[in-house]
């Protein structure tokens, strides 16, 4: 019983490295570094097999199916993906505003603008919403691709494209769940400047997901 009480009533103890840095922040940067390796391996695979599909549909060119005579148009929908890219970029803005709001929680808010900028719940919600909209765009894209004849087993483009963007989508999903958890904590007990590291770590992960998409958008969607 005594042990149990000691466990539950012990204050939260943060571990610091010899450099005076919180080990959790060092850990998230190390994790992001390892994630770089993962995504570069997926991007490399995509680029290696780019243009080597024997049958269509292709990303940027039309293709006529020789067995049916059906003409398949270029599969990538640049306007839709540009919109989803913009949404993800804006989510990064919302995320830094959420972090700034938590860091400056104790500062007095005199004007209406300051109160809006200092509302961490609003910005966390907006970030999670933008992430969800991005995932909706991706679900729409995947569904339309399958309807147009491109599946993960159809050709090399389908295999590498769905693997790369699917992994990225899974990371966005994890990020949205993380954000919703922070939002729930904020509603339950309120996030203050003492909790800024919790939000900072989530923000770093979220921005990393954003920069990965910046690379994917250029290499997969825009370069022919």
């Amino acid at each position: 019983m005594a042990t149990s009480v000691a466990h539950t009533s012990a204050p939260t103890h943060h571990h610091y490295t010899t450099l005076g840095l919180d080990s959790r922040k060092v850990a998230i940067w190390a994790f992001i570094g390892s994630e770089c390796m993962l995504f570069v391996s997926l991007i490399s695979t995509y680029l290696i097999y780019k243009g080597r599909s024997v049958i269509g549909p292709f990303p940027h060119e039309s293709w006529t199916d020789p067995s049916t005579g059906q003409v398949l148009k270029p599969i990538l929908n640049i306007p839709v993906t540009s919109a989803s890219t913009f949404v993800l970029l804006m989510s990064s803005l919302f995320m830094v505003l959420a972090l700034a709001a938590v860091q400056n929680k104790e500062l007095p808010k005199r004007t209406r603008g300051e109160r809006i900028l200092g509302n961490s719940k609003l910005w966390l919600f907006m970030t999670a919403l933008a992430g969800t909209i991005f995932l909706s765009f991706q679900a729409f894209e995947f569904t339309s691709f399958v309807h147009e004849g491109l599946s993960i087993r159809r050709n090399l483009f389908g295999s590498t494209f769905f693997t790369l963007t699917g992994f990225h989508g899974a990371h966005v999903t994890a990020g949205v769940l993380w954000l919703v958890t922070l939002l729930a904590i904020d509603y339950r007990r309120g996030l203050g400047s003492r909790d800024s590291l919790l939000v900072d770590i989530c923000a770093l992960y979220w921005h990393f997901v954003d920069v990965v998409w910046i690379v994917i958008f250029t290499l997969v969607y825009l370069l022919r």
Partner: protein
């Protein structure tokens, strides 16, 4: 002791090198505007057939993408303001990953070096 993370970090920092102050709200808005403008420029370039056919298309898009990547990492991820150990933790694996990518591109014949 119940102190903010940054304060406790300062207590433990042997060299006094702790996190610097982060950018202001106005800088975040400006960064978002720049990112949007670059994205619009990228998509615009995609719809200009003569530019797509030119030799400058691929390098331009790669440079614009690298610029966006750097801006987000520097300002939104605060790498410009944070401790340099974080820069090492990020750029080290990124460099290895980039070199691996280039090596694979050479290996599988997507990039060439003219010997003669």
């Amino acid at each position: 002791m119940n102190v903010p993370d940054s304060a406790e970090a300062a207590l433990h920092a042997p060299t006094g090198e702790v996190e610097h102050s982060h950018p202001t709200w106005s800088i975040y808005w400006k960064v978002a505007t720049i990112l949007t403008i670059i994205t619009v420029a990228e998509v615009w370039a995609y719809y200009i057939p003569s530019f797509v056919a030119s030799r400058g298309f691929v390098p331009t898009l790669l440079i614009l993408s690298a610029l966006k990547f750097t801006i987000v990492v520097m300002f939104y991820m605060h790498l410009k303001y944070d401790h340099r150990i974080f820069r090492v933790l990020f750029t080290g694996p990124l460099l290895i990953a980039a070199l691996t990518l280039l090596a694979l591109m050479f290996l599988f014949g997507h990039l060439y070096i003219k010997v003669m």
